[in-house]
């Protein structure tokens, strides 16, 4: 599904290196958690994979579903099935959430050779998705993320994921800033999307989410590369000891 080999990336503006030889293999059906201290490169990884401008990939390769990921434009990666849930979802006043969702679903379905959904079928699917994450369907008529609370924005990301049915979902700090009720709703949404042909990468600072979405693998990202991998017990160990004990392995 996803194969990252020795990835190096830096910020284009100041050539500051953020990813320093990161390698990771993800197979269909797997759930990976990537944890790490602030500034370790967690968010950068998601954006480099999704195709944000402003990063230079200086070396390494990424294969996604057998194709060279970096040969594809941002929108093409999405249509191929890569989905990044943003840590800070973007507000777009004036563009209705519904219109945005339909444009995205149309694009992805078209790419897969599926018929576009008619308005009625689409509305139904969108309402169901919003119910599944306990978000009032009235939010579908608002501007994209406009005036949404932090938790509402995160739930809107999950709605998008449900409608787009990606092959690989990268959730960047999907849990940060949520109270326990909101976290459970979110986790329910993520679990509903687990399937044998879909992989999920949870990027998170906290272990708490992993109580509700159980990962197959846990990786520690520090200094721009993965310094330790293990099963879910590693997350508990990190929660208890912090990241300090791994500092030695960063150098």
């Amino acid at each position: 599904m996803l194969s990252i080999e020795n990835l190096h990336a830096s910020i284009a503006a100041d050539s500051k290196a953020i990813l320093n030889g990161l390698s990771l293999k993800v197979l269909p059906g797997e759930v990976h958690a990537i944890m790490g201290p602030n500034g370790s490169g967690k968010s950068t990884l998601g954006h480099v994979l999704a195709g944000r401008d402003g990063y230079d990939v200086t070396s390494g390769t990424v294969e996604f579903l057998g194709r060279d990921l970096f040969a594809m434009a941002t929108e093409e990666r999405a249509r191929e099935g890569l989905f990044l849930s943003f840590q800070y979802p973007v507000e777009i006043p004036g563009v209705s959430n519904m219109e945005f969702l339909k444009a995205a679903v149309d694009a992805v379905r078209g790419h897969r050779g599926q018929e576009p959904l008619d308005s009625v079928a689409f509305l139904k699917a969108a309402r169901e998705a919003s119910k599944a994450v306990n978000l009032d369907p009235a939010f579908l008529k608002r501007g994209v993320n406009e005036g949404f609370s932090g938790g509402e924005k995160k739930r809107n990301e999950i709605i998008q994921m449900m409608l787009l049915q990606p092959r690989l979902a990268i959730l960047d700090e999907a849990d940060s800033g949520l109270d326990i009720d909101a976290l459970q709703v979110l986790a329910g949404g993520i679990n509903a999307l687990r399937s044998p042909d879909r992989a999920i990468i949870l990027v998170t600072h906290y272990q708490r989410l992993l109580d509700y979405v159980e990962p197959d693998f846990v990786h520690v990202l520090a200094g721009g590369r993965i310094v330790k991998s293990g099963d879910k017990s590693l997350a508990l160990e990190l929660e208890a000891k912090g990241y300090g004990w791994l500092e030695g392995e960063v150098a």
């Binding site: 195709g51 941002t74 929108e75 990666r77 004036g94 209705s96 945005f100 995205a104 694009a107 787009l164």
Partner: protein
Amino acid sequence: MSDFLHQALTREPEGAPHWLHQRHRLGRHQGGQQALPSRRDEAWKYTSLRALEEGGYLAHPEAPPPGSDLGQSFAIADLDAHRLVFVNGRLDASLSGGASLPAGVTLVPFSRASTADAALIHSHLGSLADGEKQPFVALNDSWLGEGVFLRVAANTRVTTPIQLVWLTAPQSESFALAQRLLVVLETGSEVAVVEHFASTAAAQNVFTTGVSELVVGANARLHHYRLHLEEASALHIGTVHASLARDALLNGFHLALGSPLKRIDLVVRHRGEGAHCELNGIYLPRRQEQVDYHTCMEHEVPHTSSEETFRGIIADRARAVFNGRIHIHRDAQKTSAHLSNRNLLTSNTAEVDTKPELEIYADDVQCSHGATVSQLDANQLYYLLTRGIPRQDALALLSFGFINEILNRIQHEPLRHHLQPQLAALFGQDPEFARDFL
């Protein structure tokens, strides 16, 4: 010397009612003492009148050939309105009509005004729009033939909007039109008026001078829409003058597509305490078009307020001008006046000249203004792309979203539902789709 103004002033109005002759003379006199503005005049610094001078727009309007299907050019689905339609300046009875009007409403074309109507018109016409310092108002006076008089009696609420359509169709020779509207709302009355400038789809060869005077009485509420949706060759220079009495409300919405020359001046005089004006506007010049809005909020007495928001999207090699003046007079304490103008340039060759002008002579007021010029937000674009939306569609969505925030302020739903898909189509979206959801 091919001074358009002085040639134009010699044109005799055709078939105008006799009670307008005095106004013609006044216009000719006042216009004759002025010159056509040039780029050296501050108010015309960024807008050239060359298209007007070179176009020879002097022929009289003619009735368009019969049988042409003109109704399509201004139809607004689901708009239950009382309608007056003027085609090349002439009332077209067959296209006019619609919802009936309640008692207490006078709605008459100048050509059909009774002696009593004429006397009323006479007492208000020109009370706000003064040709002495405005050559295009003088020109309008000198040409004046047809116009609309709307009067709403005290405490009468008109629930269906009044749609005034000024439709043009091309003629063999370039021609000129004078459009005029006089609205008088008496105490406590309320009405919505849609001034709708439209044209057939063919390339136009018309110059229209428009003058609207809106007299809003005490505690009265006027919802005023002025839509410039003409084909891209139609020239227009128009002024809207409003006067607000005590506790009066004016809710104005302005929209202009571009053309070689489109200039609209708005002047709102707050003359009674408690008066409030909300003004929203959108301009969308493309290709090599231009749109120029000059607005002026006059706060003349204490405790009045205004809230003004204009947004423009300027594409291709187009050019926009926005000049927003707020004038708070010396006695106008406790005024609240806010102005925002934001512009989106979608190409490197697009241009906007935006200037807020504050003149404040009272010391206890709240006043703010802001003007921005920007390009599309890279972060918003990235977000849309990560959802698989094609780049062109993403750009269209974001551009339209920029003005859609203002369109969402249109209270009258059928009008909003008409404009949203029509404008969305300008940005390359599927209008049917937009209609479903917006």
